[in-house]
Structure formats: structure tokens, C-alpha cells
């Protein structure tokens, strides 16, 4: 029927496809794992550690968690850690749905129920998910402009509110302060799933999530950096670490909350003089996930080494006593 040589080639190719497919699937996984179930499953107390860990949440905290995840996996190759940054709010929803083991958060979890909207804490409780609130770092939420912006050397909180509040009609720099150029102001900021968004709108605009909506929104702070770095008239806000990593592309704006212009720095954030935009950063591991040895080891590793990573990434270490408090909280959760 078939020409013999064609048949052979065809059969070879087909077999190769199937065999290669089967081989790479089984052979390509790293050390044996106990299945990638994300729901806590009791594992044999064997070493080396294996299993899968899922982290999501704040893009502000993400650089720290990413660093921890990478180093932890280097030390424990049998553990698969996936980390994403859907935003603090999005991450809480996933935590409370049992889809992730830990949420990175750039603001505390919401505990106040509102009419028609249950708080995140209530949703978690209803789903039977308990968590531990662990403070891990300090951030000075920074206001950034393009390095070619020569006219802004300070912004008051009132001016920031004027720019960012809901219904704001500010369209040019001249609208912000008389004497500034009449060029259109290009705004960049996080979206509504972001803890940074919640925090900024609460302390600047007066109410969380109250903000104008006509700006470039991204949960990915890197996109905001790229946007601001490329546009002379840009203005945006995000976590301090993203400025630290891109100092050649951005210009920091000191903020005046009534007592003079203060620029965020390790000093002013740590001693609290950079107000009102200094804030703590958290991780929220779920207690059920902590029952798994690999995840418990991961969170312990996180807290033991967090200061090194925080410095590397560009945030500010929390005072030693608060770090100890976090470690104690973890300790009691692990019992």
C-alpha cells in the first residue's frame, strides 16, 4: 500500500512524536513530588522537602516574595513555588477561596463589613480559612515623575488629592499649581485590585478606593515605571523599591503633609517622618497550609531571612521588635 520508505519515515515521525511527548512529561519533572495539590495534604515527614506552594497578591511585596521563593527553591529543589501579583485585593479573594497558600499584602486585610460587601476577613472566615498576619517590611509609597521634569520639586498632600481625587478636573500641570507648564499631565497608577491603590486613596483622598479613573492603570508596577520613564509629563505612584531599582529612569518627589517637604528614604521611612505614605507590608499565610512541612519551612525561611531580601529589593527593614513579634505569631500558629 504505502511506499515502504515513506511508511517507515511516517511511522518513525509519528512514534517519535508520541514517545518524545511521553518521555519529556515524565522525565522533565524535578525531584519526585507528592502531586501538586494546592489543598493541604498530609505528607510523609521525609526530607528532602517536596510539594507545591502558591503565592499571590501585592505587586509591591512581590519582589520580596520572588526573591525568597527563588532562594528557597535553590535550597530545596523538590519544592515548586509559583508566585504571581494579581494585587492585594485579588490575592485575598484567592486566599479566601483556598486557591493560594499565602497572600502578599501592601495593606492590612479588611475587617469591616460594609452593606452589600463582606469584608475579606469575613469571607475567609465563612470559607473556613484562617490566616496569620505577619508584618515583614516597611515601604514609603513614593510619588514619581520623569527625570526631565524640572518644575516639580515638592507636592503637598492637598495637591496630590487635587490631582487624584474622584471627579478631578486636573488636566495640565498648570491646573495643579499656578506657574507650572500648561502641558497635559499623564497619570500612571495601580488599579483597584492593588493594596497600594487602596492605601494611597485612603490617606490622600480620604477614602479607600476613591479615585479618578482616567489614567493608565496597571497591577504591574514595572509597566508604570516604563510609562513614567518615557513621558516627560508623567506622574505616578508605587512602592519605594521600584524607585530604588530604577533610579536612573525616575525622579522622586518629596511630599509635604504640613510639616515640610520630606522625600522617602531609608531614614525617613524608618523613623516615620515620611508621612502619610509610610506603611507596613505584610504576608498572610493560611494556617491550614502551614500544616504542610514544606510551606511551614518556607514561611520560617521567609521571616529568618527577610531583612536581607528587603535590603536587596529596596524596602526598609521593620524594627527588630516588630520582626520578633511576627516570628512569635508564626511560632504560635505552627503549634
Amino acid at each position: 500500500m504505502f511506499h515502504p520508505r515513506q511508511a517507515r519515515i511516517g511511522a518513525l515521525l509519528a512514534t517519535a512524536l508520541i514517545v518524545a511527548g511521553a518521555c519529556t512529561t515524565s522525565g522533565a519533572t524535578s525531584k519526585p513530588t507528592d502531586g501538586a495539590s494546592l489543598t493541604p495534604a498530609p505528607t510523609a515527614a521525609a526530607s528532602p522537602l517536596g510539594g507545591a506552594i502558591a503565592i499571590d497578591g501585592s505587586s509591591t511585596v512581590y519582589p520580596i516574595s520572588e526573591a525568597v521563593a527563588e532562594e528557597f527553591q535553590n535550597a530545596n529543589p523538590g519544592v515548586k513555588v509559583t508566585a504571581a501579583f494579581s494585587g492585594t485585593g485579588g490575592g485575598f479573594k484567592k486566599l479566601c477561596a483556598g486557591e493560594t497558600d499565602m497572600n502578599d499584602a501592601s495593606r492590612p486585610i479588611k475587617t469591616e463589613d460594609k452593606p452589600g460587601a463582606k469584608s475579606e476577613a469575613t469571607l475567609c472566615k465563612e470559607a473556613g480559612i484562617e490566616y496569620v498576619e505577619l508584618e515583614v517590611a516597611l515601604d514609603g509609597l513614593s510619588v514619581l515623575v520623569n527625570p526631565q521634569n524640572s518644575w516639580v520639586d515638592c507636592l503637598t498632600t492637598a495637591e496630590l488629592k487635587k490631582i487624584w481625587d474622584t471627579g478631578s478636573t486636573v488636566a495640565t500641570w498648570a491646573d495643579v499649581r499656578a506657574g507650572w507648564p500648561a502641558d497635559p499631565i499623564k497619570l500612571f497608577g495601580p488599579g483597584a485590585d492593588s493594596g497600594t491603590f487602596d492605601y494611597f486613596t485612603e490617606v490622600i483622598n480620604g477614602k479607600a478606593k476613591q479615585s479618578r479613573s482616567d489614567y493608565t492603570q496597571s497591577e504591574d508596577d514595572n509597566a508604570l515605571v516604563i510609562g513614567i520613564a518615557g513621558d516627560k509629563n508623567a506622574l505616578g505612584y508605587f512602592g519605594f523599591a521600584y524607585f530604588e531599582e530604577n533610579q536612573d529612569k525616575l525622579k522622586l518627589v518629596p511630599v509635604d503633609s504640613g510639616t515640610g517637604c520630606v522625600a522617602p528614604s531609608n531614614q525617613t521611612i524608618a523613623d516615620g517622618t515620611y508621612q502619610p505614605l509610610s506603611r507596613p507590608l505584610f504576608i498572610y499565610p493560611s494556617t491550614r497550609a502551614l500544616e504542610r512541612p514544606e510551606f511551614a519551612a518556607f514561611v520560617q525561611y521567609y521571616l529568618e531571612n527577610v531583612n536581607g531580601f528587603v535590603d536587596e529589593v529596596g524596602y526598609i527593614e521593620i524594627p527588630a521588635d516588630r520582626l520578633q513579634a511576627s516570628k512569635d505569631a508564626l511560632g504560635s500558629a505552627l503549634q
Binding site: M1, F2, H3, R5, Q6, I9, G10, L13, A14, L17, I18, A20, G21, T24, T25, A28, T29, S30, T33, G35, A36, L38, A52, A54, P63, E66, A67, A69, E70, Q73, K80, V81, T82, A83, A84, D220, N222, A223, V225, I226, A229, E245, N246, K249
Partner: protein, 298 residues
Amino acid sequence: MSATSPAIAQTRFEPRLMRRKLSGTVFLGLCLAAIGVLLIALLMLLVDVFGRGWPWLDGAFLTGAPSRRPAAAGILPALVGSLEIGLIVGALTFPIGVAAAIYLQEYARDDLVNRLLRTNISNLAGVPSIIYGIFGLALFVRALSLGYTLLAGALTLVLLILPIVILASMEALRAVPDSLREGAYALGATRWQMVSGTVLPAAAPGIMTGIILAMARAIGETAPLILVGAVTFVTFLPNPVDGGYTVLPIQVFQWASRPQADFQGIAAATIIVILLVMVVLNALALFVRVRLSRHIQW
């Protein structure tokens, strides 16, 4: 015939040959300029990508895992992910696509139902890839509960390239002359014997080429896989039925989204790898076509 005198006819018609030829030359110049623009655009792209990415391309890059430090970053999980997806997609599309093409080309009568099937395939080939991603999300990830796994991603891509494979295979089958078919019938073959014994082997080069090119397309796809969950920071090698995987184009997307120039560099290096994979696949397709069609004479 009108009674105009030759003299009047002479004055009315002016050949203006020089001007007409000139406009022709100008037009030809425009055509060549257009092609030149395309060539320059392609070259600019390649030069930019290679210039940015080549310094980053080394053995450690190809065998390492992604890292937050560009210097330490590698693409092994993404590379393995892409290869796995390419193989699964090829293995699944081959039987379904060829079978559908055989039916539409060899078996189907020219009635309404079959014409509908054919136009449907053509229209599907033009549906945006992201729509396939959404459909894959609804069908494979949610309805069939496969979750955000490599298998779900592969199945989504199968649906995406199936119309292309079917159309290419139909072309290949169409190119086989009817004399071969008639000869088979004359020898007493049933339709399936005719198809499998005569037409398929003759169309094999074209069909194989089509499948390999479609695999290349699948490996380059990004948007549908984002929809079915292939993002996130992944440093381990993927397993098709477990969660957590990434592919080369998505790795490019992640790194290109970071502002630091070094990340743009490793994104470009990843692009070079993708382009090399494409070149290899295209060369394979060409090789298959040449090799398998040596026996074909008509």
C-alpha cells in the same frame, strides 16, 4: 467605419509614450520601495533583537531557571514547556486535522452541509487567537476541570491551529491528480483503500509540512496561553497535568514588561531562541517536503 480623414485621426491621438513610460517607471520604483521598506523593517527588527540579546545567550542561559537577577536567569522551564506543548499539539492535531481534511476533500458530496463545514473551517482560521484562549478557559480549564495546566493550554492551541492544518491538508489532497484516484478505482479499490493507499502517500509531504508549520505557529502563541493560566514565576520544569508552567513567548512577555535594560536583554535573548526554533521547524518542514516527495512523479 467613420469617414474621418487620416489627418484628423492623427491629431487626436498623441501617444505621449515618454510620459507613459515614465509613470510606469515611477510605479515600478514605488513597488520596489515598498519591498525595500519591508526588507528594512525586517532587518531593523532582527538587528535590534540580536544586538540586544546575543550577549546574553550562553549555555547557562539555556539550562538555567528564571531568576530575579537577569545575569542568573535562564529559560529552561520555558523551553521545556514550549517543546512539550509543541509535541502534544502536533500529536493531537495530526490525526484529527488529517482525518477532517480527508473527509472534506475525498468523501464529502457537494451539498449544503458539507459546504457549510468548509466555509466554517475557513472562518475559524480567522478568529483571533485570544478568543480561542477564552474558549479554552471556559471548556478545558473550567468545564472539564483540567485547571491551569499545560494540558489545558495544549488543547486550547490544538483548537487554534486545527483549522489551519485542515486547510493545508485539504490543499495537499487537492493537489493530487485525479488520475491516481481513478487508477486505484480501476484496480478495484474501495474508497478508503484508494485514499490511504494512493492519495495520502502522495499528499504526505504537503500534509507533514503543514503540520510542522502549524506547530511552529503554536509555539509562537502567547495570548491564548495567558488566558488559560500560563503566567507566574516558574522555576521548575513543567508536568503536563500538574499546575504551573510557562512557555518561551510568555517568558519574553514577562521580562519585556520590566523596565531594566538587562531584562530587555534577556527577553531579546529568549526571542532569539524562539526564532531559532522557528527556523529549525521551517527547515524540517522543507526537508520533509523535499525528502518525501522524491517518489512522487506526476
